[in-house]
């Protein structure tokens, strides 16, 4: 489904695409492996690292740590009772601090050689237990979705700052100049909380912002020309002529040149992006592995498979939203809510890890799983759980992460993080560290202030790396 064929691309080589013949990507009809990554210097790298790319699996709405990764026998024991007075009262979104405790209906087992605790909602993920570093002590400041999602992405519960993907793109640049370095995909039409600014560049130039890929049809908005190829190319050629005439007498202005190049890149993207996202090029067994043959797993499975294709092509940061529009937000009926979403994501996520591993890409790809917060041990509406930003679980795998370990702990109810607390700032600092970036040095001067992803508050948790 290439929008423009290879031959068009060559025909159009007059557009100043002098580098075309030298560009290995332009010559490749099908990307097979990571050797396609160009040898672009990772421009701001501070220390050596294994991770080159990030896949952030964002369970939007807040998955329940108490029913997935952080078993708490006490909540079953106190099921239906008030939170004992010895626990500090948190401010919650829906004021459920006085509601009775809701036990977990899950059965729990230890998995892998490492014996990680994972509930029966995630049987596929459980098979990868030895690759996961489960962090049970995550902490955020956002008690609502907007602030929570904003902070998990940008470090602040207030808008206006660049997101993690934008920082990583800024720090490491792109390895593929025909694709954006920061790509975002959703699993449904609903808008992610706060809209596109969740992957925005904030006060940074738009160059670093995430680009939303549609998973069917046009991958990038406005990628498809509104004219037949001949007419389209004639337009591009005349535009180039005008621009070059104009540039001839002003060739000290690099902005003009950059703008001419942005049309060239846009044009190359038209050719490269459709191929990059064409999962029909994948063999059947791979599709089955990601669950593309099942109704429930098809959408998220496709996104996971796409993420792997993009990682192979050197895309730096990929964010996949599961449940976009706060669908993990189980204020009521957590059983049906979470069992559905777990079913949709479990097999695809496990397949992604396995697939990356079998291709030798897991070493260089940091996979992050989590939501903007977790859920409370207290019930809501009888069978749901309220937001819990004071102690929740995320996991990381690959990219130099030491798998098969559990980091941190919550109290006996899973309400407050107690050991090895990792605030969102620490999570961001640690992610940058795994990417070879020093969060105290990756700064951007904005309005004269040296800005950092972690608002100067994060610490790297070195237990994560192997």
């Amino acid at each position: 489904m290439n929008l423009l064929s290879r031959s068009d691309l060559l025909k159009y080589s007059g557009l100043g695409l002098g580098s075309l013949a030298l560009n290995p990507l332009a010559g490749a009809t099908q990307a097979q492996n990571s050797s396609l990554r160009s040898n672009v210097l990772e421009k701001l790298k501070h220390h050596p690292s294994k991770a080159k790319s990030v896949i952030f699996l964002f369970m939007e709405g807040g998955p329940s740590q108490l029913d997935l990764f952080d078993p708490k026998p006490l909540i079953n024991k106190l099921d239906g009772q008030q939170v004992p007075k010895s626990f500090k009262v948190p401010i919650t979104a829906m004021g459920e601090y006085g509601a009775p405790i809701l036990g977990s209906k899950r059965t729990w087992k230890q998995h892998g050689e490492s014996g990680q605790w994972i509930s029966d909602w995630l049987p596929h993920t459980a098979t990868m237990a030895d690759d996961l570093a489960v962090i049970r002590s995550c902490v955020s400041d956002g008690i609502n979705h907007a602030g929570g999602v904003c902070q998990m992405n940008t470090g602040s519960i207030l808008g206006g700052r660049p997101s993690l993907g934008a920082w990583v793109s800024y720090g490491l640049g792109s390895e593929n100049h025909d694709l954006p370095s920061f790509v975002v995909m959703k699993d449904r039409k609903d808008q992610v909380i706060n809209g596109p600014r969740s992957w925005g560049a904030g006060f940074r130039p738009a160059t670093y912002q995430g680009v939303e890929f549609e998973t069917s049809g046009e991958p990038i908005r406005f990628l498809k020309p509104q004219a037949n190829e001949q007419r389209y190319l004639a337009k591009l050629n005349l535009l180039r002529d005008f621009n070059q005439n104009h540039y001839a007498s002003r060739n000290d202005d690099t902005e003009l040149d950059a703008r001419i190049k942005s049309y060239e890149l846009a044009y190359r993207m038209q050719s490269v992006a459709p191929e990059a996202i064409d999962i029909n090029l994948e063999p059947e067994y791979i599709k089955t592995m990601y669950g593309l043959d099942q109704k429930e797993t098809k959408v998220f499975g496709s996104n996971c498979l796409l993420a792997r294709r993009l990682v192979e092509r050197g895309v730096r940061f990929i964010q996949l939203y599961s449940g976009s529009g706060s669908k993990w937000d189980a204020h009521s009926n957590i059983e049906s809510n979470h069992s559905g979403l777990c079913k949709q994501t479990d097999q695809p996520i496990a397949a992604l890890l396995k697939d990356l591993k079998q291709r030798g890409l897991l070493e260089s790809t940091l996979v992050i799983w989590g939501g903007e917060f977790g859920r409370t041990p207290m019930s809501e509406k009888g069978n749901g759980r309220d937001h819990n930003p004071t102690g929740f679980t995320m996991w990381m795998a690959g990219g130099g992460v030491k798998g098969g370990q559990t980091i941190g702990a919550t109290d006996e109810l899973g309400l407050w993080a107690t050991e090895d607390k990792m605030h969102v700032h620490d999570i961001h600092a640690s992610v940058l560290n795994l990417m070879g970036l020093d969060h105290t040095k990756l700064i951007f001067h904005h309005k004269g202030r040296p800005e950092r992803i972690d608002l100067n508050e994060g610490y790297v948790n070195h237990k994560l790396s192997s």
Binding site: I91, L158, P205, Q226, A227, K447
Partner: protein, 727 residues
Amino acid sequence: MKNILIALFPWIAFLSLEGSNPIPKDRHHQFLNQQALASKSFVAGKISDGDKKWWAFQAVTLPQLPKTDTAWAKNPIDLFIESRLNEAELKPALAAGKRELIRRVYYDLIGLPPTPEQITAFLNDKSSDAYERLVDDLLNSPLYGERWAQHWLDVVRYSESDGYRADGFRKEAYQYRDYIVNSFNQDKPYDQFVHEQIAGDEYDPGNKDALTGTMYLRHWIYEYNQRDVKMQWDIILNDVTETTADAFMGMSVACARCHNHKFDPIMQQDYYRLQSFFQAILPREDQLIADVETRKNYDEKLQHWENVTRDLRHQIHNIEYPVLLEKTSDNNFSKFVDEIKDMMLKHPDDRSPYEQQIAQMALRQVKTESKFLRYVPLDQKLILDQLKEKLDTYQHLKPKPLPSMNFVVSDVGPIAPPTLIPDHKDKTPIQPGFLNILDPNPAVIAKVDSSLHSTGRRLTLAKWLTQKNNPLTARVMANRIWQHHFKQGIVSTPNNFGRLGELPTHPELLDWLAFQFIENGWSMKHLHRLICNSATYRQTAQVLPTPLAMKTDPENTLLWRYPALRLDAEQIRDSVLLINGKLELSTLGGPSVEGDQFRRSLYVKKIRNTPDLLLSRFNTPEGFKSSPTRNITNTPLQSLLLFNSNWPIQQSETMAKQLLSAYPSNPERVAHLFNFVYGRNPTSKETQLSLTFVEQQLDPESEHKELTSFSDLCHILINSNEFMNLY
């Protein structure tokens, strides 16, 4: 030279143009050395003598005019520019041609390109002051305010939505935008402009315009269901504090929220001294519009009625309020912690100022029902009815309601809640005060009439900011004005005049401008006129750098030519619509519209989470924080949008239709198109390229062959660098 200057610019007369002290050649180096020295002794948390010598903290004085040997200068601005160029052994560029000049000054002052007719008229105007009159005409055009309002709206993080999940639309916010447009058009003195935005309710309480100014204090982001009310209130106060420092003082105080500034002599205490001026604010939806006399009269009666009915009203409150809060369909009252619930339940008379602020914020989250009385138990209901009947008998004592307005700010009352540094051991409240380095004493609070029920704190701050001896305010605004005329400020970090900002490239020029600004009644148009009429501004941009310029000043900070400018988002959209004849210019102001309408971009709805795609892709700010400069980017996504999306294609079609109907031949059409889009005739090469293109582009399958091919040509031109960049 001197005499000519004095004749043209009478204000020069009092300057000692031929000062007796020879100006040292390397004056700027001296300045740099002084500043480096001033920074050496810096210790965080202390104010050293060096700190006091930092340039931005020095009083604005009228600098001596440098002497130059040439007759290039048209006004003193040029003397400052030329002397710095001389020091660097550079020369100013030649004067721009009339065509270049008219395009520049149109875009600069009104944000739109001149039409071919306007260009022709200017070219044909051979009078010696044709250009100066053009500048005046543009400054007198209401389109000027529409353009320059945008710059200010960026600085005050203006937006029309809440900015969180629900991102509620603020239907009143546009009144602030119109207030800004009008203020610029009226050339409102900047000191008045400052007063109205920070303290309009204390400064001129009977003036609706001044009250609208206080909407400046309402542009913070707001989460409609944030149960952590105290935290949200802290965030709001921090926003107001930091935006005020950014916008009016050019001082980034945000660092000092948590600790003494690590580079500037700004103490953590300074942050809270500044915050203290805003400690009493209360968002109002019922702000009275009445001057002090009317308010006095009204207040006297109201107080009397309140005194007489106090018991009755409290009894009614005690029965009604718990029911009112608890019996709502959203059940939101129950979602607050007890501490907040208690504040909400209290009668407003019994709330402390802080409790009143928090209760009011929390009450915004509870949608009370009009029929809540049916939930009052019957026995209570009988009592309630009796109480109300009795209250009614005092109705005649109550003053007639005064007109009021919403989405503004006043103080919670005459007493401010205490200002405390969070997590600080010392719980002594911080008193309002200015930056310690400028004045370590607590501020002397201005008296406001008791009928306003206001602390006078914000009025005090506004007065301090606009005192003639305030070293920051005039410099900061003069710099912003310069910045938008020349792409870059004399200080290139317009919100930060501290050590983390950039030093001024022409410190004396900045002082001279600031001085002129104050002495000419804080008139912004006066500064525009000075700048636009300078030889510096009238240089051509169409000259390549000399090897020396390339080596010593590749960024053109010394202005050896007029800088090349890239159109910003609003200029791009507005120009396209002007060129194709769709732009609606007749109405000024009014509620905002969707981006597919044909009003100027200033009037396109600014929704924080779903900004207009075209505008945001070309870097309009998100509206969360003060944004003094625009990012300039060249991304493939911008190219895709301009080249493949519907909007530019539709506008090109409209453009093509007009060309086709107005002009019979293709060469004429091409010529007119170039004149509309580029403001010039096409070269013979361009004519030939265009004509060939139009011929080849004729689509045999299309019914409207000519339309398609001319649309394509229009589309190419509005994508081109010459359209997008000003030279």
